[in-house]
């Protein structure tokens, strides 16, 4: 396996307890084990994380090949899903 074949890994970092893992970037490594070590050296040199995930970039399934996606259109015409859609009578609180 030459360097050309090293797969790409997507790196996710949990900054603190209570937060979700967030995408931090990507890197090349021959396997998951080394990807984790490289990710530690690359993305958490200043204590930016308490937990790391590495995911083979190939294993990510995206919603469509474009960032502008008809996949999300069904959400566009349902404003009533937002609480601000509803007007409240004067004086009503805690609702």
């Amino acid at each position: 396996m030459s360097e050309h074949d090293w797969p790409l890994w997507e790196v996710f970092v949990r900054a603190r307890r209570g937060l979700a893992h967030l995408h931090a970037g990507s890197l090349h490594a021959p396997d998951a084990h080394l990807a984790l070590r490289n990710a530690r050296d690359l993305f958490t040199r200043r204590g930016e994380g308490v937990s790391l995930w590495v995911v083979p970039a190939d294993a990510v399934t995206a919603s469509s090949p474009d960032e502008k996606d008809p996949f999300f259109d069904p959400a566009a015409d349902k404003p009533y899903r937002h609480p601000t859609f509803f007007a409240l009578p004067e004086g009503v609180e805690h609702l």
């Binding site: 030459s2 360097e3 090293w6 021959p30 960032e67």
Partner: protein
């Protein structure tokens, strides 16, 4: 670890730049392109219109979006040059790691140089989102088809040069890069937010190191001043040729890859440096440098652009040495990459064995005891971390 020995005064102007980085980071978190306006259309004209619309609205272009070929090519060129500058830029300072005057300064310099390797990796990864391969970009660097910033081709003659280089050229890099945190290409902007946050450590440790010298013995003050004299113009030249003579500026600005002209950024840098030089007690080597109340900026002598062109063409004091060192570091690091790959293969074989074992119950253990030398040490170096193996081996031209 040795204690930080000096208390440096605040560095004029640096807080404002840091605040801009933070703000750009927060904007990235908020940015949306107003893009939810109907299904995607396939035809090129509609795609081009949409691209323009996103850029005009200061939205971000993301890797899977349609983009003009020229935009992609410009980004690849700029990202590659930027990434190469980060990794070749490790050399002038790596030079002094083994000879730093104290354990404290050595640890700081080591951390700084390691950051630059990281910056290179962020930027190569950003370039790869555009469909190029890091290995090909490195080939282009090694074969001289792609370049890096010209200041790297100047030597670090004394210890003070590491301080002057960091204060001035990392300072110039920050002025250049802070606006790039708002560049129109998403992965580039995100990488730059990370880079700029780390860069301000580089800038300050350089200032701190120079400050210690300018508050030391007469000989140390002299050494600091001489280093500042050497690095002022290479730093000014980092902003490139004047806008009128810059080949790519106009289009890059229209696409909002670039957000200010070379001249605007150079002026901003000079304005930031003057009060910092005063705080340090060094003189900037330009007799024409003075405040112009009418313009609200400092007047200054521009760098020698003919010299800049010569250095870019390969005729600087250290061009050949830098590229040869980079190539050697890559070749001599090959065994580390091979060892990492062998280690990965062995681990894969071992876990396949373990799986087979849990089915059949017969443990062969093949390969597991065949020597695991690559296991622990090779990991961190497994990324292509140039300079790691040879950082201290470079001959000093002093």
């Amino acid at each position: 670890m040795a204690e930080r020995p000096t208390q440096t005064p605040p560095m004029p102007g640096s807080d404002r730049l840091l605040a801009e980085v933070t703000q750009a980071g927060e904007e990235l978190a908020r940015t949306h392109s107003g893009a939810h306006d109907g299904p995607a259309e396939a035809d090129e004209e509609a795609l081009a219109a949409r691209f323009k619309e996103i850029v005009a609205a200061d939205g971000k272009i993301e890797p899977r979006d349609w983009m003009p070929g020229g935009y992609r090519a410009s980004l690849v060129r700029q990202l590659a040059q930027h990434a190469h500058s980060e990794i070749v830029g490790m050399q002038p300072e790596a030079h002094w790691i083994g000879r730093a005057p104290s354990l404290y300064r050595k640890a700081v310099l080591l951390a700084k140089v390691q950051d630059e390797a990281g910056h290179g990796l962020y930027l190569y990864a950003a370039a790869e989102t555009l469909g190029v391969r890091r290995a090909d970009l490195l080939d282009a660097l090694h074969e001289g088809r792609q370049g890096y910033l010209s200041f790297i081709n100047y030597p670090t003659l004394t210890w003070a040069d590491t301080g002057a280089l960091a204060w001035l050229t990392d300072g110039a890099a920050i002025v250049n890069q802070v606006p790039l945190c708002r560049t129109s290409y998403g992965p580039y902007a995100r990488a730059m937010v990370r880079v700029c946050k780390e860069e301000s450590f580089h800038h300050r440790q350089g200032f701190d190191s120079l400050w210690a010298l300018t508050h030391g013995s007469p000989r140390q003050r002299e050494m600091a001043q001489a280093a500042v004299d050497r690095w002022w113009y290479p730093a000014l030249a980092m902003f490139g040729p004047p806008h009128s003579a810059s080949t790519h500026s106009e289009r890059s600005m229209a696409w909002r890859i670039k957000r200010f002209t070379n001249d605007e950024l150079r002026q901003r840098f000079v304005d930031v440096c003057v009060p910092q030089a005063e705080a340090l007690g060094v003189t900037l080597p330009d007799p024409e440098l003075r405040w112009n109340a009418e313009r609200g900026h400092y007047d200054f002598t521009p760098p020698d652009f003919a010299e800049l062109r010569r250095v870019i063409r390969g005729d600087g004091p250290c061009n050949r040495e830098r590229v040869a060192h980079r190539r050697a570091a890559h070749e001599e690091g090959a065994w580390v990459r091979e060892a990492a790959a062998a280690h990965a293969r062995r681990r894969a074989a071992r876990s396949a064995d373990a799986e087979a074992d849990s089915g059949s119950g017969s443990g062969s253990g093949s390969g597991a005891d065949a020597g695991d030398a690559a296991g622990s040490g090779g990991a961190a170096a497994g990324t292509d971390r140039p300079g790691g193996a040879r950082a201290d081996a470079e001959g000093m031209p002093a």
